[in-house]
């Protein structure tokens, strides 16, 4: 598998956060093998804000799953913060997800029956941290939702729910936040709020990788990576 011809991003903003080398992913569905990623190499440095764009079926979700340690590459190397995580087992991946990453999903992925603050606490339950409540409240304050802490997701607007999800992503103080179409279900006002929040977090030093299919949003990031047919076909800096 030939390495991507695209020149890697040369603007180094900090130590290397993500380093993918010639990563492939093959799904086997019955007898058919589907090659979702065909040799992807990508470097993201600490402090970057990257948009991954591409049509559906392009492989961008698979790429996000691998970056997010929800899935393992079939071949190739993946270093996260300098640590090889490509071939860790399920439990080791769970620890990485809990300690190093924060996820934000299009559908917010909150537990419906739990209050906002309980949702934010959830990752702490699995990382064995004490003083859950205080840290959860602090995280909610960071996204400006402290006063809604005891509301359930059904009592919150879409934008508020996504802010709860971001507070949850922040709770373990990760250096990397992965967002999969984070504004896909939101109106333009809420979208603006969420993007401002991401900007703010990025200014505070958190690396953000976001999947989107809206060019307008992609251009609010510092760098755009375009995926097509399982390969990176474009990797450019925006004028931000």
């Amino acid at each position: 598998m030939a390495e991507s011809k695209i020149e890697p991003n040369l603007k180094v903003t900090g130590p290397r956060m993500i380093s993918l080398r010639n990563v492939t992913k093959v799904y086997t569905m019955g007898k058919v093998e589907i090659m979702a990623l065909r040799g992807v190499s990508l470097d993201v440095d600490e402090g970057e804000m990257v948009a991954i764009i591409g049509a559906s079926g392009s492989g961008k979700s698979t790429l996000m799953n691998i970056i997010g340690c929800l899935d393992r590459p079939t071949s190739g190397q993946y270093l996260l913060g300098g640590v090889e995580v490509g071939q860790l087992n399920d439990n080791e991946l769970a620890v990485v997800r809990s300690k190093k990453l924060g996820f934000v999903f299009q559908d917010y992925s909150l537990l419906r029956r739990a209050t906002a603050v309980n949702n934010v606490e959830l990752p702490l339950m699995y990382s064995g941290v004490r003083q859950k409540r205080e840290r959860a409240m602090e995280s909610l304050r960071r996204v400006g939702l402290a006063e809604r802490a005891n509301h359930k997701p059904t009592e919150l607007s879409g934008g508020e729910q996504q802010r709860v999800a971001i507070a949850r992503a922040l709770i373990n103080q990760p250096k990397l936040i992965l967002a999969d179409e984070p504004t896909g279900n939101l109106d333009s006002v809420a979208t603006g709020e969420i993007m401002n929040l991401f900007d703010q977090l990025n200014r505070e030093g958190i690396t953000i990788v976001m999947v989107t299919h809206e060019m307008e949003l992609a251009h609010r990031c510092k760098r755009i990576v375009r995926v097509r047919d399982g390969k990176i076909v474009e990797d450019q800096l925006t004028n931000r």
């Binding site: 769970a94 997800r97 809990s98 992925s109 537990l111 029956r113 339950m125 699995y126 373990n172």
Partner: protein, 416 residues
């Protein structure tokens, strides 16, 4: 993940589905409840019989007719025996060293009348020693004397119940009552003893000289044409004589009955301990039988939990995905679902124990035509029921929990 967090999470999700959780628990509640109730009642029945037999005293032997061709104690079953014991046998036994005295008895249900009043009692034809062997005490008057036995006197000693029914508050001593149109003079009244067995109060009783019983009321003959007695109670001077006396009585009666070496005993000598053994075997089998039926409902309850947990895993696939995405390990998810199943079954078990005990207590209050079974909820049964319900929870939870834990986070997140 801390155990406390697992418990909290389990309770939260069970509370969120109150109706479903309680219906699921109902299976275990009914199962554990019925095990507790049936075992308690079985134990109560066993205790009742044990206490009745223990009352006879540990230094007493009984001789009963036996079918010589039948095996073991089966030969003493009513309907299979012919009368084989006589007063002469009783007198001979009384001479064996270590024997304090004997009380041959014949008994039957009779109607006792006085004027317009009548009472049904168990009438014992017996001898003076029977008062002591049967653990009765006199209230007024006197018991049967040796002279009454020798002269076949038409005298009778009434139990407290028939005395009350026939004479109310009047003094029964010296009154004449009728049994089968024959007249008997009341010479004494027994003090009430309380208790009952098989619907019959211990105080629905009357006693008369065995000779009077044989000649004036019910006569039955042995094969050789002598007056028969139904049973002989032997009181020993000390319980340490039980084994030697048992042997000597057997030898003596074989000789008296002219049995050849090839013939089996036409009588059986049993001790209170042996009687207890026989009855405990019967009630024990009965209790196990009831318990196994109840266990089936416990099993069904367990299957109910497994079923609901499986549904719950499917229904909460997305929740599992979210938890995994934020760092839950396989073990965390496994524990969460296991705890839920265990919580369901343990809570059900506890409610079942309480409910079952309550029902058992209720049954203890019911008078089954004179018999009151004091159901006993023993700590052993409770412990057993709770242990079983924990095991059921874990066993029925393990498969659904493993299914939940092995879900792929990506598939789980995008489910539904």
């Amino acid at each position: 993940m801390k155990i406390l967090d697992s418990v909290k999470t389990a309770f939260m999700s069970l509370f969120a589905n109150k109706l479903r959780s309680s219906l699921t628990m109902l299976g275990v509640i009914i199962g554990v409840g019925s095990v507790i109730t049936l075992m308690a009642v079985g134990q109560g029945a066993q205790n009742l019989i044990t206490s009745q037999i223990s009352e006879l005293g540990s230094n007493v032997l009984f001789v009963q007719p036996r079918n010589p061709d039948a095996p073991g104690f089966a030969g003493t079953a009513p309907g299979f025996t012919v009368p084989s014991l006589t007063l002469a046998d009783a007198e001979a036994i009384a001479k064996i060293p270590g024997v304090l005295g004997v009380a041959p008895t014949n008994e039957n249900f009779v109607k006792v009348t006085s004027g317009n009043e009548e009472a049904t009692v168990v009438l014992e034809g017996t001898t003076p020693l029977y008062l002591e062997i049967s653990n009765f005490k006199m209230a007024t008057g006197q018991f049967i004397q040796d002279k009454d036995v020798n002269s076949r006197s038409s005298v009778i000693v009434l139990g407290s119940k028939p005395a009350g029914t026939l004479f109310g508050n009047a003094d029964p001593i010296g009154q004449v009552i009728k049994i089968k149109d024959r007249h008997f003079t009341v010479i004494g009244v027994l003090a009430p003893k309380g208790g009952s067995l098989f619907g019959l109060s211990n105080d629905d009783i009357a006693m008369m000289p065995i000779t009077a019983f044989q000649t004036r009321l019910y006569s039955s003959k042995t094969a050789s044409g002598e007056e028969a007695v139904a049973a002989i109670a032997i009181k020993l001077t000390d319980r340490s004589f039980i084994d030697p006396v048992q042997t000597q009585v057997t030898e003596l009666l074989r000789k008296e009955h002219h049995l050849t070496a090839r013939e089996g005993d036409d009588f059986a000598v049993v001790s209170q301990e042996q009687l207890l053994g026989i009855f405990n075997q019967i009630t024990g089998v009965f209790t196990i039988f009831l318990g196994s039926i109840a266990s089936i409902s416990l099993l069904v309850g367990g299957i109910g939990i497994m079923n609901i947990m499986l549904v719950s895993v499917t229904e909460r696939t997305r929740e599992i995905g979210i938890r995994k995405a934020v760092g839950a390990k396989r073990r965390d998810i496994l524990m969460q679902f296991l705890f839920e199943a265990a919580t369901l079954s343990v809570t059900g078990g506890i409610i079942g124990v309480l409910g079952g005990s309550l029902i058992a207590f209720g049954i203890s209050q019911i008078n089954f035509g004179g018999t009151i079974i004091n159901a006993v909820v023993s700590p052993m049964i409770v412990l057993l029921a709770l242990t079983v319900s924990v095991v059921i929870g874990l066993v029925s939870g393990i498969y659904p929990a493993m299914r939940a834990a092995s879900l792929n986070p990506i598939d789980a997140l995008h489910y539904g």
